[in-house]
């Protein structure tokens, strides 16, 4: 008994019922395609979120003031109402705080410190055009590197500009488009809330990060912004860049120690909080990983349903063809030939379904789904295909075994 003959019998068996075979195949196709595509969508969204976080700057800590006393869980219940109102002893972040963080001996893991003030509702005007800049930032030149905002045209501003409080500004793409259109903005003067600033550079386009347009931004030297727009009050935040990605945790510890000492915090109930980019990335990765697993699990159920479809069809096929099995056995078909034929039929169904599912998924992942570019995960393709063939073998073996075990006379008497 030739393997090829068994294959021929199996194919003949499948082709005898084209409609039924193709519908069963469709079940597996949908299952496999769903698994691959949903995992790809999950992976795509996870990667896009990661990219967005990376765009915010790598190895950075963002320190911002925290007025709410709810930061430490231990404080709950102490001094009623303290949870919501501003804490009396809370201190704002000051330029002195930022300066203290640059101490190389106390904070060896810190590479640069950029104090940041954000001017509220600043409207920039050039000629007749005006635009409300969502983020008007006053800071030090190190900020550009820390938050990963390279300049596309012109230059950054320098430490000299900061010291001299020169009114120069680097604009984001959106601001440039709104104010200048096609005109080259470098060297032009824009007035921000009536104060004239000279444009020295244009930031590289960053793209939107979800809600916020990262290009709707203007960056100027810290004293210039304080003088003309925000006043010499507290800082909005301090951006600290660590010396490397491994050093962010160390840097966070050093920064915490310095600020606790400066702000006189002993009970761990800090009046500031530190946003660690690396930690954020890890958390988000974990969250999106769960998301991907969830999508995959939902798709796996449809694959399972497809597998049950195969069992069902094979059971029907075996029942329907019991007489034929009896005839085959009566003329000397060995058990292995009967088993092989039905097992091969089931495997062919799932293999064809699986392969076309992979094909559909390959095509499907080329399209953007709900703003997410799916990223094909090779292991999911192998897994889905493997599982679909496994399902064919596993779910097909029961009916096939039942068929092969029948005594010829039982099979022949079957109606």
């Amino acid at each position: 008994m030739n393997q090829l003959e068994i294959l021929r019998f199996a194919l003949r068996g499948l082709l005898a019922n084209k409609m039924r075979s193709s519908l069963t195949t469709l079940g597996i196709l949908i299952g496999v395609a769903a698994v691959i595509m949903l995992v790809a969508v999950g992976e795509g969204s996870s990667q896009s979120i990661q990219r967005n976080i990376q765009r915010l700057g790598a190895n950075t800590l963002t320190i911002s003031p925290q007025f709410s006393g709810g930061g430490g869980g231990g404080l709950r219940g102490q001094g009623g109402g303290g949870n919501t109102g501003p804490r009396t002893q809370a201190r704002q972040l000051s330029l002195a705080d930022a300066k203290a963080l640059t101490d190389k001996t106390l904070a060896p893991s810190v590479r640069s410190v950029s104090p940041v003030v954000t001017a509220p509702s600043s409207t920039a005007a050039y000629g007749a055009a005006s635009h409300a800049i969502s983020q008007f930032v006053g800071t030090y030149p190190s900020y550009f590197e820390a938050v990963n905002k390279p300049v596309a045209e012109g230059t950054y501003f320098f430490n000299d500009d900061v010291l001299a409080a020169r009114k120069v500004v680097v604009l984001g793409q959106t601001v440039v488009e709104e104010l200048f259109g096609t005109v080259d903005p470098i060297g032009k003067q824009v007035s921000v809330s009536g104060v004239p600033f000279t444009v020295v550079g244009v930031l590289k386009e960053a793209g939107s990060t979800g809600m916020q347009d990262a290009d709707d931004v203007a960056i100027a030297p810290l004293p210039a912004v304080q003088q003309s727009l925000s006043g010499f009050g507290s800082l909005s935040s301090i951006v600290v860049q660590a010396t490397g990605s491994e050093a962010t945790t160390a840097a966070q510890a050093e920064v915490t120690a310095i600020l606790n000492q400066r702000h006189g915090i002993k009970n761990g109930n800090a009046d500031y909080r530190i946003l660690n980019q690396a930690t954020l990335q890890e958390t988000v990765s974990a969250a999106t990983g769960t998301f991907t697993v969830l999508l995959g699990a939902v798709a796996a159920i449809s694959l399972l349903v497809g597998g049950i479809g195969i069992t069902n069809i094979m059971l029907v096929t075996v029942t329907e063809r019991t007489r034929e099995i009896g005839i085959r056995k009566a003329i000397g078909a060995p058990r292995s030939a009967i088993l092989g034929q039905f097992l091969l039929e089931a495997t062919l169904l799932s293999l064809v379904g699986g392969l076309s599912g992979v094909l559909v998924a390959f095509v499907g992942t080329r399209f953007t789904v709900a703003g997410i570019e799916p990223v094909l995960v090779p292991s999911s393709v192998a897994l889905a295909l493997g599982v679909s063939v496994g399902i064919g073998l596993f779910f097909g073996s029961y009916p096939a075994n039942r068929a092969a075990k029948l005594r010829p006379i039982q099979a022949l008497r079957h109606e």
Binding site: R328, A333, P334
Partner: protein, 317 residues
């Protein structure tokens, strides 16, 4: 007949090896019997005469070794001893066969008769290895069927026994040729040889012009002739027919019986079941079964002669 040939160690032994040691012997057995079939095919009229002296044609390596049959120690094609078959349990127990003893010689043509419920179909199914007896032993071509495992049983069904059913039992949606080829496929025979042998078998039953028709395009008589061809194609030692004419009209019955007569004349061993006296009249030996026991065993013609009806026809001419 001549003396035993030296390369045949003992009678029946090549058969046994063929059944018990699968693999290589099967292959040699598969390829060699094609030759006598081929010669039979090219000379119609006496198609099986060359193969006749050695009905055990599939025996490996010795297709022309006829001597074993003459040495007295040769087992009959069929030897049944005290065969009992019971159905059901306890009060519902039915004894379909109550100790059947039967020997069928090589070349015999036996008709088993009996009313419905006499156990003749049960006997036939057991002889064809489709069912298993409750107790008792039976040997086909020297092989004790009770001691064969599933795999060897399949080989036995494939090689030694040809079975013709009352309801034809052809596989639907397969051409007549494919149906006849099927036993050879399971016997592991190559495509080219399969085709030649299947065509030769179809020629023997006179269906050369219906080779590519599917069962539903054939009349009942034609379907039964395809079934006979399928039973013949492996050159089995024993041809079993379970009421082969039960579903046929008179003309088709005549056709099928004529084919069986011709096969018998060419030396094929045939056992058929019938409840019609007309059909039984074709056999060399008639066995009557009542309530699972043999009550009559009548010989109508000698084992090594032609079947009675053929003799009558020849005489009439």
């Amino acid at each position: 007949m001549s003396v035993p040939s030296p390369d045949v160690p003992s009678p029946g032994a090549p058969e046994m090896t063929g059944a018990t040691s699968p693999g290589v012997p099967e292959m040699t057995g598969a390829t060699s019997p094609g030759v006598p079939e081929m010669t039979g095919a090219t000379s119609p009229g006496v198609p099986e005469m060359t193969g006749a002296p050695s009905p055990g044609a599939p025996s490996p390596g010795a297709p022309s070794a006829d001597p074993p049959q003459t040495t007295g120690a040769v087992p009959p094609v069929l030897r049944v001893r005290n065969l009992i078959k019971e159905y059901g349990e306890g009060d519902a127990r039915v004894r379909a066969l109550r100790g059947v003893n039967l020997d069928v010689e090589r070349g015999d043509y036996v008709a088993i008769m009996g009313a419905s419920g006499s156990g003749k179909s049960t006997l036939m199914n057991i002889l064809g290895c489709l069912d298993i007896p409750t107790s008792g032993t039976y040997e086909i071509d020297g092989a004790d069927v009770g001691r064969l495992d599933e795999r060897q049983l399949a080989i036995l069904r494939n090689r030694r026994v040809g079975f013709v059913f009352q309801s034809f039992n052809l596989i639907p949606r397969m051409s007549a040729l494919a149906n006849v080829e099927l036993p050879l496929v399971y016997g592991g025979i190559g495509q080219a040889e399969r085709r030649t042998r299947a065509l030769a078998a179809l020629e023997q039953v006179g269906l050369t012009d219906r080779v590519h028709h599917e069962p539903n395009q054939l009349s009942g008589g034609q379907q039964q002739r395809v079934a006979v061809a399928r039973a013949l194609v492996t050159a089995p030692a024993l041809l079993l027919a379970d009421e082969p004419t039960g579903n046929l009209d008179t003309a088709s019955t005549g056709d099928v019986l004529e084919i069986l007569d011709r096969l018998s004349a060419s030396g094929r061993t045939i056992v058929l079941i019938t409840h019609e006296n007309d059909v039984a009249a074709h056999a060399k030996r008639v066995i009557r079964l009542v309530d699972g026991e043999i009550v009559e065993d009548r010989r109508q013609a000698p084992v090594d002669g032609p079947p009675p009806r053929m003799t009558e026809k020849a005489a009439a001419r």
